[in-house]
Symmetry: C2
């Protein structure tokens, strides 16, 4: 059955699959110096942001991704005061990070200011924490920013990037992770979105190897549902300077004083479970 014109479709070439959402109208489209951004109003997934033809997020289901990119790392670091988000221009990860009272400063470094301005306009819920005095929004090259950061000055670096093509490519390299390692304190953790555990196993393995060769002693890949991304199943990979990734602050997680929609203590544990097909290959 062919879809009529009132659908937005993203093709995932490497898996020969496609995901489509029925749309009411295209609300906005622009070419920035970095990428093409489109905003749609869908029938059931709320507002949708698309960059260079790839779905970035929808109102309906972004909570999976934003919560899992932030809370597992923040409940693992013993005292996450200084957090940096590389990418993440939609501000959804920033909002989750700032739910943690321990955080003294959260710096978001996205190369494209237009992503943030459009998110403020079309995803106001995700930008709720932008005016928090602990938040700092920078529009700059994240790779260079991490290179220039004072050694040992950051507790957690969250790499909330697009896929490893275009401007995000350098974020998936050992050179970048080495700069992260240097910028992080002794208990430092970097966490990077690492695509589909089913379709992108090669990428995840390469990322873990790059993190290891950058000096991190432990890697941990967590997985979670994400309906609008290819295969509907997504992952984030954490790397720690110390071996602290599987022993998170369980009591704090159990008693979290803020609201989430997916994340909780049991989900944190569940996200660490390795499917059998992963074990075979490791």
């Amino acid at each position: 059955m062919a879809l009529s014109n009132d659908w937005f479709t993203e093709i995932c070439t490497e898996s020969g699959s496609a995901f489509s959402l029925k749309v009411k109208e295209k609300l906005h489209q622009e070419e920035t110096p970095f990428q093409r951004i489109e905003i749609y109003e869908t029938n059931h997934f709320g507002t949708l942001m698309v960059i260079d033809g790839f779905i970035m997020l929808s109102d309906f289901d972004n909570f999976f991704y934003h919560e899992m990119m932030s809370h597992p790392a923040l409940f693992t670091h013993p005292n996450p005061e200084q957090v940096v988000i590389i990418g993440g221009g939609d501000c959804g990860t920033l909002r989750e990070v700032l739910k943690h009272k321990e955080v003294k400063r959260a710096i978001q470094v996205d190369i494209d200011e237009r992503v943030t301005r459009l998110s403020e306009q079309f995803f106001p819920e995700l930008c709720e924490a932008n005016s928090d005095p602990r938040a700092e929004l920078l529009f700059a090259d994240g790779i260079q920013w991490v290179k220039d950061a004072a050694p040992g000055s950051i507790d957690i670096i969250i790499v909330d990037s697009t896929d490893p093509v275009g401007p995000a490519k350098g974020l998936f390299s050992a050179a970048f992770y080495r700069d992260c390692f240097r910028a992080l304190g002794d208990d430092g953790i970097v966490v990077h979105q690492s695509e589909s555990p089913l379709i992108h196993q090669e990428l995840i393995r390469d990322m873990r190897n790059a993190m290891h060769s950058a000096g991190f002693t432990q890697q941990l890949t967590i997985n979670f549902p994400q309906p609008v991304y290819p295969s509907g199943w997504w992952s984030a990979t954490l790397a720690g300077k110390k071996e602290i990734l599987t022993t998170f602050r369980e009591q704090a997680s159990r008693n979290k004083p803020f609201v989430t929609r997916y994340y909780n203590h049991d989900i944190h544990l569940a996200a660490m479970a390795l499917p059998e097909f992963w074990r075979e290959r490791d």
Copy 2:
């Protein structure tokens, strides 16, 4: 972007989303007395079976569903000797069930023999256990079969059905679960596929209520990835005559003497984790 003709697309009306697979060719199509069955060769997901326009299974990812429909229930019942599968004509669940040495007899009751014959032809891997002397393949109405079963004669009933439309509708009713309850022994468990935890929350709640009103003392909904089904995230709901569902045979699961691709002890535990948005609503 519109998809060209060499894609198979399934629309999920209730979520305004669609999932498509690139196909090389249609291998087979027929109308049985019950439904329309199509078989495709896809580019990346192997062979694909479609019934009445809905994707049933692909070579690539059916292991999630078949393993999670069987192993959690079989590692929960203290001694699963008599297992009945209602539906499941592709024989993938039967194969998983028969991996358990304790099983003395596994009866598969599908209303449409053609599903099984086509599975033997196009999905031979799933039919590997069909010649196991413990397997019995019946082609009959599963609702009537359970009604006629001797009271207390079955340990586990697995309802491996299509969506609650057409011939499968009666399988989602309290009347059917009452017949299951009667046919099950004291430690009896019924497990039924219960659609997407994100999109079909109403259906899951109705199913749990129907199971409860049929006499089952405990219900447990487990979740797992399933890329070819709407939202890419799926569930099964177990109901127990006794409250044994959360304390499964962990040691046996840890030492399972057979190969799986998704299921293992950690995944069993992980599948029981309730997302925060489910807790709010319960």
